[in-house]
Symmetry: C2
Subunit: 471 residues, 2 copies
């Protein structure tokens, strides 16, 4: 993690990065874009590349990018810093802080022992239990970030109790496998249910502009077959792609039952944590009809845990890593949003889409979907891409002759399952990424392969299914 | 710091707090205020009282207050969270992170040894050296928060090198004395120079509406006598009010010189830190004419320290306390700003000012100044009070027959020196308060006495001086 050592390789990468940055910065601005939008793209792209090449960590890249865009008047201070006040960013930060209580109180250990006692004969059994739990609770969560805040502490406790820590290279993989299962489960279950993420209704409202009416039932009918297929196969696929080290643990269920007996009844702090989470979850489920703010519910939960002493100021003083996450997430989230607002994202989408006009519709359909998914490399937020590109892509698809409902559902589902394509591709990933169980390279490789797999399933199985049931 | 223990005293306080909160909440809304403004006041006042009574720490009170105002629709989420993106709040956070480099690199130790070698025969000598240094650099700093970011690490190193830590009850007082000297020095030197804080030009522009032209020279002429008197006496007064434990240290200068020789020449990290601070300070000085954003300069400085390895991600991971400060400062800063925007502050000021009309002008002058200073108990930002109340109070004073320039200068100077009346009365205090060298009770006591002393000096000496030179 140190940035103090400058080897020859790192200096070469740094020179390459500077060439990329200044090359983009001084490239003549493409017609249809403002100078500011192009400069913002130069900074944003360089920041992402510097992280991917491991020249600077996310935190340092973000600081530098933020300082550059403000000092060059590319963005006003208010716009550059705006995302520090974004409710979703604050929800991620608060979810981090709240989740400590599940670990600290012992509740996470208890739940994980219980899960192990039921499914713990194999690592694969645990992975399936994560996917199944998430699938069942997803329709009640209008925010996959909030859902991540519930799943993460349980997965962290599962990893910890098996002796897997980010520092121990051998045992790290077990926790890393479960962490990636959590991330990819959130991605695919968000595609399954209309109400599992806030982007779905947003996307559906864009599809409505093309005359398509989508509700809870018609969404589920179209999504169920491809989604359940991915849910059924993905734990197994990830198990092959990223062998977790620990595989068969035949004695684990009995040991877990023994340990549960040793733990005795639930402590006061466990009860408080459990009740706080149940109330928070109820609040999150009721958030949409009662117009409750998700972040405010999480803040109230954190306050409750502080007042009751489950968490203390001392615990908060150890959350410097959360501050690091807060800073880079806010900076990149803000820049991505501004790129969108300045018309850069729409510009790229239109350029690409225009090139496809005139193709036969099945060709255009596949090309549009694949490009739409790949473009998520440049987005830090799913909602931003939905708002920026879904309408344009749907429009181009319909004009190319693709059946409206097919194009719409394909893009809508992709807007959920592409979230793992990069570690920052969805805010719900962040909490899992920051756990440190997976390296940047692994996250990009697994993310790309998982997204590829999901895209293939949706193209090969989803396409005929959607044409059949929703035609 | 623990919030887990609920003794009888604490339960009584908690009941009192609930009575206060619900009493205010359900009190009929005074005419001229909206329901939302009144409810926001009920939450804000209860949060401040809960901190003063030590029912909850600032962090917990802020979480609760923020959750309540959003869930009751008193504020929209965007307004309640807005100050997380405020440039001044972010400058405080960044100044915290940057200041670690001065301590870690050894530069702070070197500077403090140098200061000790010159003035270190007594604690009082050190205190005067803080005030004098600040007085000399202040006209070049348009932000007292930024100036605090420079002074703080040096004071911290002075305290550390004398073995004074927040945890050691006996030796704590030495560091606490120097910390409060730093805070109150920032307060009084901001009154001395027109360009020492951003609030001065703002206030002067409000005075200009009453036909008064104020520039760098006329400001200094009016401020110099009362300000220099306070600067000359305050270190001594604080020394009596808060005996620092360690007093005479006759061998310290020789020991410091010896230790400086042992340290040898400046290390690479010290040089980088020194140059980074010089560049940042130059940037801050040039910020106004070149329209540079203070926070972006600080972010660039932090990025430089990260890239060069003076600070590492590991250092950042230990900054959980900075996150705690970030959260409560953003919440309270935001609520104070919203109270102002909703017209509550102006309402209170007008009510009070109206009551004074008809008094003889010297009486009105004293009453307006004292009320203006005391009202700062309710403000988390100096600029907010200047914007909310300075114009109203000046107007009432002039109508009551107070000479315009006297009323204007009295209010303008007060807007700087009242910043220590509460620990949160100025954002530049926060970094000193968070060091932990002073307890909440001590901060309020010293703050009130210091503000009282400054107010008396400005009334008794400042009034005839201003009438004489600016009449």
């Amino acid at each position: 993690m140190s940035t103090a050592t400058f080897g020859t390789g790192r200096i070469l990468k740094l020179v390459g990065l500077l060439v990329l940055f200044f090359g983009l910065w001084f490239t003549p601005v493409p017609q249809g874009l403002t100078l500011e939008a192009w400069h913002l793209f130069a900074v944003f792209a360089s920041a992402i590349v510097s992280v991917v090449l491991n020249v600077f960590p996310l935190f340092t890249s973000s600081l530098l990018a933020c300082a550059i865009v403000v000092l060059t008047n590319t963005l006003t201070p208010a716009k550059a810093y705006g995302a520090f006040a974004n409710a979703i960013v604050l929800l991620v930060v608060t979810a981090f802080l709240v989740s400590q209580s599940v670990v600290k109180s012992g509740l996470g250990k208890r739940i994980s022992l219980y899960v192990v006692s039921l499914f713990g004969k194999s690592t694969l059994g645990l992975a399936y239990s994560i996917f199944i739990t998430d699938t069942l609770i997803a329709p009640g969560f209008p925010s996959n970030t909030a859902r991540g805040g519930v799943l993460f502490p349980v997965i962290l406790a599962l990893a910890n109790n098996s002796g897997s820590t980010p520092e121990d290279e051998n045992k790290r993989r077990f926790g890393g496998y479960l962490m990636f299962c959590g991330m990819s489960s959130l991605a695919i279950t968000s595609a399954l249910w209309f109400t599992a993420t806030s982007g779905n209704p947003v996307g559906a409202s864009l599809a409505a502009e093309q005359g398509l009416k989508i509700d809870f039932g018609s969404w589920l009918l179209a999504s169920c077959v491809p989604c359940l297929l991915v849910i059924g196969l993905l734990p197994l696929l990830l198990y092959r792609l990223f062998p977790p080290g620990i595989t068969a643990t035949p004695d684990a269920p009995a040991r877990a039952r023994q340990e549960l007996r040793t733990m005795g009844p639930m402590s006061r702090h466990e009860w408080i944590t459990a009740i706080t989470f149940i109330v928070m979850i109820t609040g999150w489920v009721l958030a949409a009809p009662y117009k409750l703010n998700l972040t405010a519910i999480a803040l109230a939960g954190l306050a409750t845990l502080m007042i009751t002493g489950v968490l203390t100021l001392h615990d908060m003083h150890e959350q410097g890593g959360t501050l690091v996450t807060f800073v880079w997430l806010a900076v990149l989230f803000g820049m991505s949003g501004q790129l969108n607002e300045m018309g850069f994202m729409g510009y790229v989408g239109e350029r690409l889409a225009v090139g496809l006009e005139g193709l036969a519709w099945p060709m255009a359909y596949v090309a549009l979907l694949v490009i739409y998914v790949l473009l998520h490399f440049g987005f830090v937020s799913q909602n931003a891409q939905v708002l920026a590109l879904l309408g344009v892509f749907l429009d181009v698809g319909v004009k190319s002759g693709v059946p409206t409902h097919l194009m719409a559902f394909a893009l809508l589902f992709a807007s959920s399952y592409f979230s793992v394509i990069t570690p920052q591709g969805g805010s719900q990933n962040i909490i899992f990424v920051a756990s440190g169980y997976l390296k940047q390279g692994e996250l990009y490789r697994l993310g790309l392969l998982t997204t590829f797999f999901a895209t293939v399933v949706f193209l090969v199985v989803g396409t005929p299914w959607i044409l059949w049931v929703a035609g």
